[in-house]
């Protein structure tokens, strides 16, 4: 049961981070970052399994592969951007966090453009 591991280690790391934050705040940030990456690596294995199932389903339903890969890219960008922004916000750098989120949003919109144009063309074709 990974959740027990993650919660247990998370609590221990939180106590250590609070302990270190008193004297050396930069180590607390590095500690939080280290633990965040560790949990992320654990989760990515599970997400990989979910994605492979989605890929098989979309292949069976003959959905074009392009939409699924774009969806995955958007998911990846959202994941990483939120991760970085949250670490920066914990360290007290709200401005940097909002810049990271802004970049993430812009990149996601950029990825969504082809699908948007595809939908609009389909709608126009439907009109008499």
């Amino acid at each position: 049961m990974e959740v027990l591991q993650v919660v247990g280690i998370g609590l221990v790391i939180t106590v250590l981070a609070v302990l270190i934050r008193g004297q050396r705040p930069e180590f607390a940030v590095l500690l939080a970052l280290g633990f965040g990456i560790l949990v992320f690596l654990l989760i990515l294995d599970k997400v990989g399994v979910v994605i492979s199932v989605f890929r098989d389903l979309s292949r069976k339903a003959q959905i074009e592969d392009f939409y699924l890969t774009t969806l995955l890219k958007v998911l990846g960008i959202a994941y990483v951007a939120e991760f970085g922004a949250q670490i920066c916000r914990d360290a007290g750098e709200g401005a940097i966090a909002s810049k990271i989120e802004l970049a993430g949003k812009v990149l996601i919109v950029l990825l969504a453009l082809p699908i948007l144009t595809g939908i609009l063309e389909a709608v126009v074709r439907l009109l008499p």
């Binding site: 250590l16 004297q23 180590f27 500690l31 280290g34 990989g48 994605i51 995955l72 890219k73 994941y79």
Partner: protein, 65 residues
């Protein structure tokens, strides 16, 4: 789940903060600052390697090239 890396970072952090206080008592302020700097650099190198591993993993899972 290689947890030892995170605990290594925590141990280094505590060690560095204790040594910093000791050096400050022995009024060697510059050595204390240098020591903290060295500690931060070492831990940063470890964390950056971890970030590199994370990015390669994300790239493989989400096909984010």
């Amino acid at each position: 789940m290689n947890v030892d890396l995170v605990f290594k970072i925590a141990g280094l952090g505590i060690l560095i903060s204790v040594l910093h206080i000791i050096l400050k008592q022995a009024d060697k302020e510059e050595q204390a600052q240098m020591l903290t700097l060295a500690g931060v650099v070492v831990v940063l190198i470890m964390v950056v390697q971890l970030i590199g591993e994370l990015y390669s993993m994300v790239r493989s899972v989400f096909h984010l090239f």
